[in-house]
């Protein structure tokens, strides 16, 4: 793995993580994280859409007139979301029901638009593709982390397998909306304290140079 690729993944997953650093795409991050399996499917869907739409936007970047680029990006993203929706409906209808409108809402997930706008627009297709995967992985990582605690505390299970035994009082609060807000709040707090902010890092590096 070259240094540049490594850097993309490090930024996407940790230092510049779309969810807890840039506070993007948290609507779906909160909505589907009551079960691990929902989060995993959502994450895979998002990685697919982010990677391929970043790739497509990057391929078309020299042929897209500047003032209609948002429209073009939205259309590219919707096309891939429709693919995800149809595949889910065909092969995994129960999951499609469980996720409800949130599959369609991948279109308005700001992570994808953000990556298209800030990275794919100015970089070659191969790098844009990797950057999309990295951002998608960062998102999936956070989703699984939140879902782990919510499912464990709320249902006493992980991926539907009971691990907590009958003595565990099901903490229904974690499954309900407030639990999601508190979980993400705690996560942002912990991550802000543990992971150094990218801005600080670059200013230090700039000073050293």
């Amino acid at each position: 793995m070259s240094k540049k690729t490594k850097r993309i993944f490090q930024l996407g997953i940790l230092n510049d993580n779309p969810v807890f650093r840039q506070i993007l795409g948290i609507c779906s991050a909160l909505a589907v994280t009551n079960l691990m399996i929902n989060s995993l499917v959502m994450g895979i869907g998002l990685i697919f859409v982010t990677a391929l739409s970043s790739f497509t936007v990057s391929v078309l970047r020299k042929h897209t007139p500047r003032h209609i680029r948002m429209m073009v990006q939205t259309l590219i993203i919707s096309a891939y979301v429709i693919i995800v929706d149809i595949v889910l409906k065909a092969y995994y209808p129960s999951m499609s029901d469980a996720l409800g409108p949130y599959v369609g809402l991948i279109i308005t997930n700001c992570i994808i638009m953000g990556r298209c706008e800030s990275y794919a627009q100015n970089n070659p297709p191969s790098l844009a593709f990797l950057d999309g995967i990295a951002s998608g992985l960062g998102y999936t990582f956070v989703l699984l982390l939140i879902a782990f605690f919510r499912e464990l505390l709320g249902f006493g299970s992980i991926f539907g397998i009971t691990v907590m035994g009958a003595w565990w009082p099901r903490w229904i609060f974690m499954i309900m909306p407030p639990g999601a807000f508190f979980m993400l709040g705690i996560l942002i707090w912990v991550m802000n304290s543990l992971v150094p902010s990218e801005e600080k890092e670059t200013s230090v590096a700039g000073g050293a140079n």
Binding site: C27, I82, D85, T108, P177, F182, G185, M191, N192, S193
Partner: protein, 196 residues
């Protein structure tokens, strides 16, 4: 969903099924814009207006164009185009007639296009099989609920501006905690009416 009174839907979408506090939609702008009461009020009004308008247009387009031609799977693209066009129109009108509001909203007006609450309401409307009147009530109620939540949040945030908050919790972190508390409070309404 044929037999639910539109007023029940209107009430439920404001309180028990609030777009932000129960469905987590429109969170990005909710967190980013809720620093000041004035801008939140402007954005909340814009969201209510756009939500009501786009729900009506999307209902008509879905049931009178997409369903007859069997093109339901295209609804994501069609809905987002409707929303984008509608927002563009509103932006031009606001810029022309309410320049002050236009400058205070700045970047956030075009961002309404990618506010998931707008697309979410249209998708919920399709999933729940609402009739026309029910959809209008749902769209308008969801907008009001969004406005209510962001106004309450900006009020709280202005009050706690000088409070000593741990470093890592500033901004988004504390906002999420307050949202969680607000969601807890709103759960109290869920005994009255519920729509799912």
């Amino acid at each position: 969903m044929e037999n639910v009174n539109p007023f029940v839907i209107l009430f439920a979408s404001i309180f028990t099924s609030n777009m932000i506090l129960a469905n987590f939609l429109g969170m990005c702008s909710f967190i980013a814009v809720s620093k000041e009461i004035k801008t939140s009020l402007g954005l909340g009004q814009a969201v209510t207006f756009v939500l009501t308008g786009t729900t009506i247009i999307n209902y008509l387009v879905y049931h009178h164009v997409l369903v007859p031609f069997g093109l339901e799977y295209l609804r994501f693209i069609v809905f987002i185009i409707t929303i984008a066009a509608f927002v563009q129109l509103v932006e031009m009108v606001v810029e022309r007639y309410l320049p002050n509001l236009y400058y205070s909203l700045g970047i956030f007006l075009p961002l309404i296009t990618v506010n998931c609450a707008i697309l979410g309401v249209s998708l919920f409307m399709v999933i729940r099989d609402y009739t026309f009147i029910q959809s209008v009530a749902f769209g308008f109620g969801s907008g009001l609920g969004w406005l209510l939540a962001i106004l309450a949040m900006s009020g709280i945030r202005q009050k706690i501006k000088k409070a000593p908050i741990p470093k890592g919790l500033e901004g988004a972190g504390i906002t999420l905690f307050i949202t969680g508390l607000m969601a807890l409070a709103f759960i109290g309404f869920s005994g009255i009416v519920q729509i799912q």
